[in-house]
């Protein structure tokens, strides 16, 4: 008996020891460190920011950023943070491209050669930002050995695609360091949006010396993490939080108002909304979490919900290699018989614009509806359906048993059920919904193992080409519809060679017209970006690419 009691006692003792040892140590230490650094900052700050002490902004992102290496990052969360700690040759302010790390640039007559002159900027460790840092970063991305998933965004640069795909050599790349402060870039085609690209994360510079010395410099915050942006990464608790602090060596540091940005990682939208309501965070809106559907109406009533246009489209792709979906009239009928206005008013609620074309209205040159189709045009849809059924040799729409696939998400499911019911009541077509896990779904799309499938497309740069390029051939990895059209492809090629911007847009509109007469895709709505912020947060706006630059943000409590 005694023996057994002793055993139990030992067990208990072990338990308490473990508890005491763990003691939330994972987080407690950095928290106390933070406090002390805060303290010293408060006492020493000679510039004396303002009366209110250090200015701190609290935000959350949805997950641990998968990669903080500008050239290896692919996702929204990583790039939201990268944009604050790095700066490309150009950057954005209020949606317009402005000079960033480059002071000025010259473009050759034919639009093929860009000569950038760098400003006197410094890295966070005091080293000068040089043209070599850019060259190193870009070549890192293009080097096939590094397998950068976003390297293709550098393809406008001459020789980039060939080198990246293993054909060309590094020497043939159109990237030339003229001197420490001058970078000359030669392009494959005149690319009117190239200055937008240079503001993109894959075009950011990296500190060559540290990157060469340490292969995984980007995995932890600390001395190795050297940045050239308005902020620098001072603390990174994986899956927990990140802390950005003002970069004293940034060239424009005097115009950076915030001293510190705390970024938590919160996966649940609902939690983020509650945190906002409880005052734990100051802003909610993509990429810093999204406004949950549950609270949209309330925020609207309170008058704090901000709605910004977004260069992005929500659409249903059709598998044109399928027996039924191969029929253009059936595709037309389905495209027309969607009540887009009803959908955005009642289900998505974000004041999205019904999409009646393939290029969002936020894109330059496409700001007005091109008038290809009418929303919820049941009459035309019925005509098209009848014609389509005849061509297929069917007599009744109920003989079409279609499958609508989407990746699992409550928002996608709600949209699909809304459209499903519309097709059933208006056209008499029975549609089965088929949701699957994300990777399984992607697999279905790429293998054309579906009939109707949902996808979204978000612009990396604000140009129509990013929305149209994917359909240039059936083999394009982003096409997923099996559709191609020689005339369409020719128009896109023409637009690439065209230097006159007006004519180029005209060509792209013609191409869009072809898409909207053959309907390999049913556009549904153009996204908007919803956000809420506390009154004391100033200048925190989302541009049409969904960028937020904290450089301009101020807090006035």
């Amino acid at each position: 008996m005694k023996k057994r009691n002793l055993f139990l006692m030992l067990m208990l003792l072990a338990l308490t020891l473990i508890l005491a040892a763990c003691n939330f140590g994972a987080e407690e230490k950095p928290a106390s460190e933070e406090e002390t650094t805060e303290g010293t900052e408060g006492t020493e700050s000679p510039e004396g920011t303002t009366e209110g002490g250090p200015k701190e902004l609290n935000l959350v992102v949805t997950s641990e950023p998968p990669s903080m290496h500008p050239q290896l990052a692919t996702d929204n969360t990583s790039s939201a943070v990268l944009k604050q700690i790095y700066e490309g040759l150009t950057t954005y302010k209020d949606g317009e491209v402005i000079a960033g790390a480059a002071e000025k640039w010259e473009v050759s007559e034919d639009g093929l050669v860009y000569t950038f002159t760098l400003r006197d900027a410094k890295w966070s460790n005091g080293d000068a930002v040089t043209a070599e840092d850019f060259e190193y970063a870009w070549k890192f991305a293009l080097n096939p050995e590094n397998a950068s998933e976003y390297a293709s965004i550098l393809y406008p640069i001459k020789g980039a695609q060939a080198y990246n795909e293993g054909g060309g050599t590094e020497e043939d790349l159109g990237i030339k360091v003229v001197d420490e402060k001058t970078l000359e870039v030669t392009l494959e085609n005149p690319t009117p949006y190239f200055l937008e690209l240079t503001a993109f994360k894959t075009y950011f510079p990296i500190h060559k010396a540290t990157a060469e010395a340490n292969e995984t410099w980007y995995a932890e915050a600390g001395d190795l993490f050297i940045t050239n942006g308005p902020f620098t990464l001072t603390d990174w608790q994986h899956s927990g939080s990140m802390t950005l602090e003002k970069n004293a060596n940034y060239w424009d540091a005097e115009n950076v108002a915030l001293d510190k940005v705390n970024i938590g990682m919160v996966e649940s939208e609902t939690t983020a909304a509650t945190m906002f309501d409880a005052g734990e965070i100051d802003f909610v809106g993509s990429p810093f979490q999204t406004v949950a559907l549950d609270v949209i109406d309330r925020y609207k009533q309170e008058g704090i919900l901000k709605i910004a246009d977004y260069s992005a489209i929500y659409m249903y792709k059709f598998n044109t290699t399928d027996k039924i979906m191969g029929n253009a009239n059936i595709r037309k009928a389905l495209t027309l018989a969607i009540n887009r206005q009803g959908l955005v008013d009642n289900i998505t609620k974000g004041e999205q614009t019904p999409a009646l074309g393939m290029v969002p209205l936020a894109v330059n040159g496409f700001n007005e509806d091109r008038g290809y189709i009418k929303d919820n045009d049941i009459e035309e849809a019925k005509k098209a359906l009848e014609a389509g059924l005849k061509e297929l040799g069917l007599s009744d729409p109920s003989e079409l048993n279609l499958k609508l696939s989407f990746n699992t998400s409550e928002a996608h499911a709600a949209i699909a059920q809304f459209i499903q019911e519309g097709w059933r009541t208006n056209l008499g077509i029975e549609v089965t919904l088929d949701n699957s896990e994300w990777q399984v779904y992607l697999d279905k799309l790429t293998n054309l193992d579906y009939q109707i499938g949902r996808l979204g497309w978000i612009a990396d740069y604000n140009d129509a080409y990013t929305f149209l390029e994917q359909y240039d051939s059936a083999k394009n990895g982003n096409n997923d519809t099996g559709w191609e059209n020689a005339e369409y492809t020719a128009l896109l090629h023409q637009s690439n060679a065209e230097t006159d911007q007006e004519k180029r847009i005209e060509l792209l509109k013609q191409a869009e017209g072809i898409l909207m007469s053959e309907f390999p895709v049913a556009p549904i709505y153009y996204y908007t970006n919803l956000s809420v912020k506390k009154d004391y947060v100033e200048n925190m706006e989302l541009d049409q690419l969904g960028n937020v630059y904290l450089k301009y943000v101020d807090i006035n409590k």
Partner: protein
């Protein structure tokens, strides 16, 4: 702990002789068991909570059968009134797509009740057999059987579900398969634990000495004595199945939308907690009521069947 190393001395089997079973005597036992069941019934019907459970379950089942048939709305019909609070026409309000929640709750009851009960029965059968055989046999058989259970519960479940998703068309069958793969393990472990503690008790040893078969031991001695733990485990199996079902539906394995089970409705309603709380409340309430009723019935049955509690 030297005591556990104690071994009984082997008694050579020649010292025993088989007596056999006399037919008349078994007849006598059967006679008695009629009154036993009568007594069980009597005791059960005196348990108010258990009777309440039975009535609630019957009502829920009837509503699940008849409401979707006689309701003026269909579960998929979108009425154009979105997220409306309960009124005289829509007793449980409407959901985000403007559908009547009342009819959807009873449509969902069909799926959830079917899945909950089927999964519980399958878990019960596999779990009790696996656990009692493993516990009774002991030694290597026990070790192998229990390690199989461990392996099944350690292999990433989500991966298994994804494979099922690829191989099978979504529907009730893959759902039941997915629920049954690991569902029975808990039951098997608990039954084995009970069997281990019962099998060396005097009356089991006595029965074995009298030549009772393994099957007889399981049926007559082990299961009745482990009944409490078995029933309790079953009451956990049903809600687990109902909620795992919603998770599996979410992955795409279940009945496709717009049909929704209670679990799915509760999971979706949970996201609308502040703007349309009725979408969470009603499915969650009926899940709880159902589980409560099953529990009450289970407890009543256990008390009624327990031979030791007989007056």
């Amino acid at each position: 702990m030297a005591r556990t190393d104690w071994q009984p001395q082997k008694i050579p089997s020649e010292k025993f002789e088989i007596v056999g079973i006399k037919q008349e005597e078994t007849e006598k036992l059967a006679d008695q068991s009629v009154s036993f069941w009568k007594e069980v019934f009597l005791r059960f019907s005196h348990n108010k909570l258990a009777i309440f459970g039975i009535i609630a379950l019957v009502i829920i089942t009837l509503l699940a059968i008849f409401v979707p048939v006689f309701s003026p709305y269909s579960y998929r019909e979108q009425l154009g009134i979105y997220n409306a609070a309960p009124t005289a026409t829509h007793w449980f309000g409407t959901d985000d797509l403007g559908r009547d929640v009342f009819v959807r709750v009873w449509q969902g009851a069909r799926i959830s009740l079917f899945i909950g009960i089927t999964a519980a029965i399958i878990d019960l059968i596999i779990g009790v057999l696996w656990g009692s055989i493993s516990g009774l046999a002991g030694g290597r058989v026990d070790n192998v059987m229990m390690r199989i259970a461990d392996v099944l519960s350690a292999v990433p479940y989500l991966l298994v579900v994804i494979i099922l998703l690829v191989v099978l068309e979504p529907g009730l069958l893959p759902m039941i398969i997915a629920l049954s793969i690991t569902g029975w393990i808990n039951m098997a472990r608990i039954v084995r634990g009970e069997v281990l503690s019962i099998k060396n008790q005097e009356y089991v040893l006595a029965a074995r000495t009298l030549g009772a078969s393994t099957w007889h031991l399981i049926k007559r001695h082990l299961v009745p004595n482990a009944l409490g733990a078995i029933l309790v485990t079953m009451t956990l199996t049903i809600p687990t199945a109902i909620f795992t079902e919603s998770f599996l539906s979410y992955l795409g394995l279940g009945v496709p939308a717009p049909t929704a089970s209670w679990g799915t409705m509760a999971a979706e309603g949970n996201k609308a907690l502040t703007s349309a709380p009725w979408r969470l409340f009603f499915p969650a309430f009926f899940i709880s009521l159902t589980i409560f009723s099953f529990n009450a019935v289970g407890d009543g049955l256990r008390d009624a069947l327990d031979p030791k509690l007989r007056k």
